[in-house]
Symmetry: D2
Subunit: 267 residues, 4 copies
């Protein structure tokens, strides 16, 4: 069975490669078509447009960067909607807000197609290692998106707390590497601290999950909280730190680059 | 070798029991002496005062609740200082601020005694299971205390972020238990979320690490940041949430009881 | 000249009454028409629909509660758009976001009408006393709305700071009334503290500017900041306090009712 | 009657000059004695030490920078305590915490002297214009200090809110000067916004009330809140912004220099 794959960013590239490695035939499309080359070398075909991919494949997966892009690949000219039909499935694995998911779902199903909302939890490394957690919502469209926002909100607040801890350790005369060792032994050990910590100490912020996307998820999670009258002071403070990082030009780095804001000082 | 143990709260009781189980002879003391009974049944001796314990034992460990208590067992009448001397060691495993540690260290060493500052990371369960992480600072008195504060500060902020996530999930129509499952699979899985989450959902806050102690550690960590001009907005917001919990009468419950403040609402 | 007035809430009622007192002929409309009765007694005419009002009047003013209502009176069936035309003016004095203002402006001007965006700064009392500050943006549609959001954002943060001060004074053994006296003599004396303070101390929160509207303005101001990468931690913390107040069922009281959240405690 | 005056910083200089202008004979002392020269030209005498000033004067006023300095002029060698006695009065107008006030009060009264705690609300300009608000606590020692902390806490939070508003206005395309005009007409008009606003827009932060002192007062106010279990999230967020400003080397500028932190961004 041929599988279509729309979007070859950090995540999409790793995910489509894994499909090929597992033996699936894959047809890929990306806005900048040259990003398809590496996949082609591994055996993928290329579709010229999202519509062309859907026409060819029974199941098409999308993994694009934000709600605007998710809507664009579906609704624009040469988009998914032009070829989706009964018997064809469309799986959107992008992180979007529940409203975007609902719009796409309605459009796909009104044409007879099947829709699954399946955002993933995890970034570059888990994607490459085929270890992503997939939050498929089935009939409860919007729940996968909501769950993703809640998880990323907690993650964004934790990243800020972690960064504050590293800076406090450093400025009070402790070795930040010792802090990482201590954290790894205790009740708040987590793969994120272990994975990101050493790079943060070295000011290495090559992007696994870009800061501007993390901040977007904080904003969407806070908006979800606003709708439901949930007060979230920690998430709000973390969001403002990510906004400060954006204003400092760090939006395209990894979201751990908020560390640059936290540690900023003058001697 | 006889080991002295001062302070039989949640932590001290579990730790001294483990010493007995490992075959050490232990002499215990507690401000309220009746708390020694359970240890006596397991084979411990009782010292009438801290001084009496130090007189009898080559090494005495203290595990008391706060800086004031840590100073009191050393400096008050019938305190550690009256009997400490060359050849005797004193290990303070309480969580205190660096200044308190330094005062105690100077007093002990001026009498010829040896002092080790060794706060622990972990609460009731790890204490009972002999799985505490011990932050022994050796010559760098104050560093163990500092490290402990940094770790607990991160932990307190994480607890708030976690609680906000549970409430956001619940109020936006997700099942909070599903959130726990999703978290446990991903990059921010941590023993604390796994251990505390199910109890928080059931509003079970029996104290492993009392909220008032967590808030004290947040306060001390923020003070350490103030000294070193480290701005920590997440920790500050978390501290205010813990203070709100204290003002609501939740100080003696587990620190996860901050969840009661976060979820508070009227329909 | 006949002036139309759409929306007779707290603000609109006071404003249309002032127009009548100044000798203008006024035709009013309100979603719940019975709210027009008091104005009719003072000499106003009633329009059955927004369209009917615009048909009759050269200039029509709208003062409704939120962006959704502002759009509704213009675009819905029997709305302003059906009768607006060259030679007629439409003045929207509601507090809305810049996008809403732009949409309305485009629709009105495409029909040949003139549009002025003119949100007001001030609540019930200044409205009744004809002392509102009008932020008319002229050609720069959206700027009046933006200015209003900035002012209300500062006001919302100040209200929280003020409330925290009253509670801190009270709980540390000072007389909150003395605080009001001291504030009134110094560099941060402001009509708001003088006007709202005594009522807050008496827990009197009858609505001049409803809390849910203040929180909406905080949210819109934060969204404006997000667009422009402006980090605003104080506004964010204040917004979360207002959200907590909403979740406690205080949304319809005056925005000073956030004081109930700040002072909440158990002895 | 001869009046003694200890401490000739920004505030003390202006205050002692006003005493001379009003016809009082004044004997001044300052740690760096050369700062006395300007006062001597106006007719003041100089005391070599605090003790010498107290010996000569029936009433001695102190206006020093922080609790440590307030304790030092009283308790150190050649300090106030050496010469205070029955029939002599000591008025401390410095901003200190309640504990410091109590210590000084006890020491002075145990020697038979009279003590008045009288911190002032106001900075350079009101001091020069003889318009300071004096918070004299009379018998309730500590209350003046507490009131001062509450007022300064509100002021510090307001300054942050104001700064956020100016930056938001500027980045969303409004003229910050227009914002100042609008604020000055409405319910949140205040001398501070009017006085500081134009300088902030011009990045002029010459110190009337140094930022490091404002941050110290925020810290002391938060500590007072901690003692009394008062949760103050706005003050806590403002305090962290002031700490960030300190870490950026802005501690000696006016407290409005927190504006530099708020507006910091990269294009």
């Amino acid at each position: 069975m041929e599988i279509g794959f729309l979007g070859l960013g950090i995540m999409g590239k790793a995910m489509s490669m894994n499909l090929i490695k597992k033996g699936f035939k894959v047809t890929v499309w990306n806005r900048t078509l040259s990003r398809c080359d590496e996949l082609v070398e591994m055996g993928a075909s290329v579709g010229e447009t999202p519509a062309a991919v859907v026409k060819k494949c029974k199941i098409t997966i999308a993994m694009v960067s934000d709600p605007a892009a998710a809507l664009s690949v579906v609704f624009d000219k040469d988009g998914v909607l032009e070829e989706i039909s009964s018997g064809k499935g469309y799986v959107d694995m992008s992180t979007v807000d529940p409203e975007t998911s609902s719009k796409i779902s309605e459009a796909i199903t009104s044409k007879g197609g099947s829709f699954v909302e399946a955002p993933v939890s995890g970034s570059k490394q888990p994607a490459e290692a085929a270890l992503l957690v997939i939050l498929a919502a089935g009939d409860k469209i919007g729940n996968g998106a909501r769950m993703k926002l809640v998880v990323n909100m907690i993650m964004g607040s934790m990243m800020n707390a972690f960064s504050e801890g590293i800076v406090l350790a450093d400025r009070s005369g402790l070795n930040p590497s010792d802090l990482l060792d201590v954290l790894d032994l205790g009740a708040i050990a987590t793969p994120m601290f272990k994975g990101k910590g050493p790079n943060m100490i070295k000011s290495n912020f090559s992007p696994a999950f870009p800061l501007k996307h993390q901040q977007k998820d904080m904003r969407l999670a806070l908006a979800l909280g606003d709708e439901n009258a949930v007060s979230m002071p920690i998430a709000a403070a973390a969001n403002e730190a990510f906004k400060k990082a954006r204003s400092m030009g760090l939006g395209d780095l990894d979201f751990s680059a908020v560390h640059e804001v936290v540690k900023q000082h003058k001697d």
